[in-house]
Amino acid sequence: MESSPPSPPLPRRSLPHLLNWLNSVGLSLPLLVCLAVLALAPLFITNQYTLRLLVASLYFGSLAMAFDFTGGFINAVNFGFAGFVGLGAYAAALAANHTGLGIWFGLLLAALATGLVGFLTGILTLPLRGIYVSLMSWFVGMTLMALASAMLKVTRGARGLIVPPLYESASNTAYLYFLLMMALLVYIILRLIIRSRVGLAFRAIGLNFDAAQASGVDPTRYKLLNFTLSCACAGFFGGFYAHFVGIVTPDLMDTGHTLEVMALAYIGGAGSLLGGVFAAFLLIPIFDSLKKLMEYRLIIYGMLLILVMIYYPAGLSGVYQKCIQFIKMRGKKNENC
C-alpha cells in the first residue's frame, strides 16, 4: 500500500492565504480546478443523458472514496460494501415513504442506520485479521441482502420500493449539484480525519497491525471508528441513490456492485481517497460512450483490477504522484540553469 506523502507547504508570498487554507482542508489547486469544471459543466452541457452520466460517475466515485477509507487505510477490505449501500438506500426510501420529514432527514437516517450496522460489523470483525475481516463483512453484506429479500412486508422483496424523486423536473442538473455537495462534505470530513493523528493511527494499523499495537495505538477504537464512518458514508450515498433512481431492490446489494466499487478504488490507487473518483470519471463515461463496450464493461473492470493488482498496485494516484514528482524535478533543473 502506498500512501500519499503530505504536500509541501505552499510559499506564502506567491499564493493567497485563502488557497492555503483550502489546501489545509484538502482542496488543493488542481482539485479546485476540477471542481470548478464539474460545477460549470451543466452550463455548457444541455444533454440530459451526459449530465446523468456525470452524476453516475460522481456517485460511483464517491462510493469508491468511502470504500477506500477502510480498504486503503486500515487495509481491511469491506467485501459487503454493497450491502451497506443498499441498507442506506432502503433506510432513505422507508423514511421518504413513511415519515415525510424531508430528504435531509432521510439521508441522515440512512447514514445513522448504516453507521450503526457498520459499528456492529466492526465489533464482529474485531477479533479477526486480514482476510477474515473481508469474509465477515462479506457475510454481513449477504445477510443484509438476504434480509432485504426475505422481509417482504417492509421491503416488498424483489418488487422493490418506489422512492419519490427529489425534484419535480426531470433535469439532472439539480441532482449533480446535490451530489457534488454531499461528496464534497464527505471528502472534507474524511480528508481532515486522514490528516489528523487519527489518520496516522489508521495508516499504522494498516501497515503493520502488531507494530501499531506495540507503539500504543489502540486498534479496537480506531478500527471501529473507521468501519463506522466508512459504512455511514456508504449509506449516505446509498440514500442519494434511492432518490436518484427512484426504486430500491435487493439487487443493489449484490456482491457484483462491491466488486465494481472495489475495482474503481484500487484502479484509482489504494489510500488516495480521490483516486477512485478520478477512476470513475475516467472509466464510466468511456464505457458508456462506446456502446459496444457496455457488454465488456465488467470484463474490462475485472481485467484492469487484475492488471493493477499484479503490475501497478499504486494505481492512478501513483501515476499522478509520479507526474508531480517529474514536474518538480524539471522545475528544479530549470531553476538551477
Binding site: I131, L135, T143, L147, A150, G157, I299, I306, I310, Y311
Partner: protein
Amino acid sequence: MDWTIIQNLLVTGILRGGLFALMAVGLALVFGVMNICHFAHGEYYVLGAYAAYFAYVTYGLNPLLAIIVAALLGFLAGAITERLLFFPLRKRSKGEWVMNAFLLTAGLSVVLQSVYRLVFGNRYYGITQYWDATIHIFGMTVAADRVMAFVIALLAIAGMWFFLQRTRTGRAIRAVSQDERGAMLVGIDLDRIQTLTFALGSMLAGLGGASLLSLSPAYPMAGNKPLIASWFVVTIAGLGNVQGAIIGGFIVGVFESVSYFYLGQGWQEVASLGLLILILLFKPTGLFGTEIKSVWEK
C-alpha cells in the same frame, strides 16, 4: 415430527453435502497450499457444467465420459489461470500476497462471468437427466443422477486422498502446504506444485459442476450459489483444512435441507449466514481448525 420427514431431509442433505464437500476440498486445497482465498471457484464449476453439456448433448458422449472431459477441462483451465495470473503476481508480490491474491480472484470471477455471458448468452444450458433410473433408499425414491453425483464426488475425494497420501507428488503438495521454505530446501519445485494444486482445485470444481448438470443448469451466474456454499463449508471447517472440509460439507448439506424445510427459501439464507457469522465470531479457525496450515492432517 414425522420420522419419514427426518429421513427424507437427512438423505437429501447428505446427497447434497457430498457435492459441497467436493467443491470445498478444492477450495481448502488452494488455500492450504497457496494461501489464496479463491473467490472465482464457482466459475470453474460453471466451466465444468458448460463443458459437460456440450460433451454430452452436442457430441453425444457417454455421461461418465462427458463428466471426465469436463474435469480435465477444469484442470487445464486452472493450470492456465495459475500460469497467467498467480505466477506473475507471486513473483511481484511483496508481503501483501493474501489480500492481493484475493482481490485478483475477485477480478477473475467478474471477468469469467462476463466471458460466459458473452460466449453463451444468458440461456440456461441444462439436461433433464444423465441416467434414466431411480434408486430406492430407505423407502425413498431418488433420481439416479443424484446418487451418481454423490458417488462421483466421493470417488473423487477418495482419489484425491490417495493421491495426496500415497504418491510422491502428493506428498510434495503436502510438504509445500506445511512449510514452503522447507519444501524448497529439499528440492521441491514450488512453481510446479502451485500450478498443479490450483489445477487440481479447479478440476474438483469442474467435476462438481459437470456431475450436477441435470440438477442445476449452466448459466453465467450459476457459480455464485456453489461458491457461497463451499465458502460456508470451508469457514465451518477452518480455512485450508481439507479433512474438515469433507465433514463440513455433510454438515452444511444437512443444515441447508433442514433449514430450507422449516424456514423456506428466503429465511434459510439468512439462517445460514447468521450461523456463519456466529462461527466466524466465536471460532474463527473453524469447528475442527487448529492450525490453518494443514492438508489432510491436523
